[in-house]
Symmetry: D2
Subunit: 384 residues, 4 copies
């Protein structure tokens, strides 16, 4: 084994405070690990080579923190950041834990709840900006319904838009310099969640007041829950210029939200995501939104964090090999991959309509996908 | 039993020629029914009370039809339409059956295949317009991949856009008066299909040359395959002003594309879709893209068609009852459904940021969703 | 509306204390309802017409209850039972909540944990028997794994068998008169759970020491999570003579364990389950293992319970109509449903091998499933 | 690259004639490859290092083959086998393609269809035995239903049992020396298929007349469709002593039956299956029931076959490394994997009931699953 897979800050690995800090509570079981002090988290992750942390408002400031306590907590936390050089590139708002949000937050039927949610978000954006964040993630986990009659989806989208517009207005008014990244999810904890996939959220952005301020935070697990492959989702997000942040983890299709260690399930999908990020020159964060298995003690937590980053780096090295592998490049040519970049109608529609093709010859072509895919399999398995 | 559920043309029920004409071939079995003559289909559906039919180019004109044969076939088909008063409100292109499309159509890696696909689509649009169609559906069933390395998704989206733009150019140049409706599907026959959901297709439209000319043809089965509920998908489509056509059928989550008789699975989902269409004043087609079970003989085919329409009408009647039911309306009030239409910030952001709420009181509210949902269940079960 | 759907004790409706008592905690949210006193639960459910309640050991006796407290609690609880006439036909063991079970219970790798689990189960069976239970349910929610290398499945099945055998031994030794009902589940809270479906559990029973003492408690939601239809699962369970208990609720395929109100999703599936129970003369419990939506206050909890029972009774009435409906009975004949009861080889194999059939004629038969299924749809929708 | 992954007959790799011979037809597309001559298949697979082929009756003998043609075809086929040393270890019956089976085969409602199916199976078993097969696979793809009312599941299981019993009787009467292997599948082509999982089929076997003659042919894709992990399914099959044959391929959860090249999806799952087969000393076939992508020409077909076998051998080598890897072995000890083999109650139930445990200490244990799983990930990725 080599340490060529040792993470370093320039790799831009970040973790939510709530990820390594996850106490192991699940729908059928109590917490199994004591809470982590955010300061310790910063220190340990810095030692492991991470670039920074992200946080929900209440990960750092327990709900109800007084202004004085806020200052004390922030001071201590900043000190840890300064000492370690760790950053906080992203913050987000907890709009799901407290009972007030049980019927929704930005799209709660009760206007008072919606106002509470917008206000809490503005305060969380203030906090994020104060800590140097450039992105504010919005995950609308409670924006949904089980009893369909109870929610008018079109009105809900009106209110969702209004809320995001208000948040943008706050950013502009206060000069917070933030961009907003919507995080789609199909279900859980609600039976159906609004903006269930990357696609729905991308479409929604087009109708906002300041669409340029809003992009996406796609999550591996959330797309995968619906059986939608993650790398095409990220590719479409990039195509629209809307990749503002990304959540890496692992998940099996059609199951509860698992948030496993990156690469622990879906190795091939993980590879293609890393390939896409590396090929596209993504210079943002490689953010892990995952949590350790409930079987782990404190030491297992750090093994979990170490594993997320190592697997990313191992896959990134394979991306380089992919480019350098003569057989793979030859197979890409047989599959005519590059020809997809040629315009279909370089000389206009008229010529397309006049073209005659030899359909039998085109139909008889083999594309060599089995060979190409096998080469990728062997690359992944480490024998290329 | 009453015949208050007898379909009439003003209900706007349409069927694809390929639906009742489906011969019962499946991945593991041969055809079980002989092909239906499109003229017979028109006549039988007219008798059953349908408004019209839709078609793929090759449903009517077998591939390779000569110009002379084309005229003969069209004349005979038009005659049947005229005789019965049936319409052809929608046409589409078969870009999936022939081996030339095995690697894709609009997004095939080989430019010659792409040109063939664009040309075939333009000819299919000509055919549709000739028959009076107002919508041309585009289902990109072969636009996808199994071996991810073989397809650059961002380049594929460039080509997809180029192809749709070329088709719009053709519509404009020829004055065909058509609108295009994209039909999303997550997978099958490809491992992953581009524009896998309503959301992805809505987002894609925003980047087209003539976005106003392009909308959606969402399909019950296709969204449901991914576990995404259909009525919120249609609601978001309406919200964006992009419902151009709709495909009604039935499907279980996470299974092969079943295209069952409308209402035969997912009764509750079917109800909410009908409710949405009726509540929103949708004046387009109620189009069935389904096929009879393989167990059926010819008589079963027409039972299938009859059933699709009857179930729609039964559910539409329940939509009226829903509005008139005092208990349901009372439960909607308890759930504060209408209050979602009130702006969150009627007096602006500043007031929102200044508002104090009684969080405990808001958290303690009950929304009565169990009661409301039970009332809807009983409405569906016919005891309200 | 009529009260012909009013539940009465002879309908054998039971609820887990943990179902109406569910405080609304979920993976992303805190509790929203205060705990229900089991005595109040008994009283309220009695008023609503239920037959009894079921319980986990720790639903009644908080973990760590001293022998004295145990007596006090039991006395008070029995008093409520006596007063209301309510029964406790089933009890079960909580082998999932406490951190000690994080790696498993009967199949934990650590033998000390396994012994703890067996002992806790024996004590829970003692409690159940004391309260008059006839069935002890075993749900092995923690018997699984995320990191496959960490569990030898064959050894785990050895230990699972050993544990169930030990529990049977205890029942026999103490004369508890209980039967054990295994409850399968595919995943959640573990990534993969042992005995994931009705089938796997049925097979497992065949290898036990006292297979006659052990049967199943199939659950609607658990089978449905995997996309397996519930009524065929229950039918196979009945076929093996192993339906000892049943858990009714609602669930969408491929999602987190939703445990919705019976009939709120999957109306058709719910009908076929009720039909099977009624047709087979099932004289056991109609047990609801579901919980109210998190949007509900206390009143919503009782609406939830009322709804579960009402929907069962509405569907049961439809079962009677199904039998009495002339068109449905005619359609069953066309589909040759009864002929499946005729032996295939009434005169032995030799005659089968010698039979000539008119394959074309047999292939040409129509079975009228579209018609039959539409009739059932209309029966469900209340217009037959 | 090395040729240490070159398949040899002793590796026991077999392919169905229908796998490499798949012509690329799918629900939305026509055939894209011409039929392969079975003799050529035998020759090419022999060159690639396979051990043998398997076949449906009609893969070799087109339906309606006369006795004379039968002899000619068989003579030529045997000649190819003799020349190459290839074997036919398994045969099966096509009970799904022809329209007569549209309503079922062994469980068709019409007794004449059932007799036809039993007779066809007996003839296929004769053929298999003649070619030296030791296992006859039964996949009941048509044994299911879409319209639930049309099938009495308990009666269907009676008939299923009767059919399998009749087949066993035929084997015994004719001294064919065959064992039967049931192949479960949850759905497709039917909405719901009987015996949907490994578990259901294992349970069913227990009720047969000659249970020892019947075991399973579990398939990777079929279990995975339901989201059930394949290696625990195979492990339970082995635990019951019922692994008679196995179908290897690849599949994503919750999608149509994909039958991809082994290892092309689900690398981790594929590894654990190979590990289980190798660890358990499985001396049967490594049978591939998969087909080449539709994008492939003839050359791609053989790349497909080569890839299935190479990936197996690459993974088998990793199984050896797993055993030899010091860190992995250490992590297994930390996870106490071996301790699951210790009896829970070595000295009997009484001692278990009397044991006191230190619950807090047991709950505090960490099992190191993140570390262990990361080591396996790195083994798979080839950096251990």
């Amino acid at each position: 084994m080599t340490d060529s897979y040792a993470p370093r800050p320039e790799h831009h690995f970040t973790f939510g405070l709530w990820t390594v800090g996850n106490p192991g509570r699940d729908p059928f079981g109590d917490v199994v690990r004591v809470n982590l002090d955010p300061v310790e988290t910063v220190q340990r992750l810095a030692e492991l080579g991470a670039y920074g942390v992200s946080l929900h408002d209440n990960d750092l400031l327990p709900y109800g923190t007084s202004p004085t306590e806020r200052q004390t907590i922030l001071k201590r936390f900043r000190h840890a950041l300064d000492e370690t050089g760790m950053k906080v590139p992203m913050a987000t708002t907890n709009l799901f834990w407290r009972p007030i949000f049980k019927e929704g937050a930005f799209t709660a039927n009760d206007p008072a709840v919606r106002r509470f949610a917008v206000r809490k978000t503005c305060e969380a954006m203030d906090l994020g900006a104060e800590l140097g964040a450039e992105v504010h993630v919005m995950w609308g986990g409670r924006e949904g319904v089980e009893a369909d009659a109870a929610k008018d989806v079109r009105a809900a989208l009106d209110r969702y838009k209004e809320a995001v517009d208000l948040c943008c207005e706050h950013i502009r008014a206060q000069g917070l310099g933030l961009r907003i990244a919507l995080e789609p999810k199909p279900n859980e904890p609600r039976g159906d969640v609004l903006l269930p996939t990357v696609g729905h959220a991308l479409a929604f952005i087009g109708d906002l007041e300041w669409p340029d301020m809003v992009g996406l935070n796609p999550e591996f697990a959330h797309e995968t829950m619906s059986g939608l492959s993650f790398s095409p989702a990220v590719a479409q997000t990039l195509w629209h210029g809307k990749l503002f942040h990304i959540d890496l983890n692992a998940q099996r299709i059609g199951k509860f939200d698992q948030d496993f260690r990156f690469g622990s399930e879906g190795i091939r999908d993980a590879f293609y995501v890393v390939k896409l990020l590396e090929d596209s020159g993504w210079d943002g964060m490689r953010h892990f939104d995952a949590h350790p298995y409930r079987t782990e003690d404190r030491e297992g937590v750090w093994e979990f964090a170490r594993g997320c980053m190592r697997t990313y780096l191992i896959l990134a090295e394979k991306v380089v090999r992919f480019r350098d592998d003569h057989d793979i490049q030859e197979a890409l040519r047989s599959a005519q991959v590059d020809r997809l970049r040629e315009p279909t109608a370089p000389t206009g529609l008229r010529d397309v309509l006049a073209t005659e093709v030899d359909e039998d010859a085109l139909a008889a072509q083999g594309y060599g996908h089995e060979h190409l895919d096998q080469l990728v399999t062997e690359l992944l398995l480490g024998i290329r």
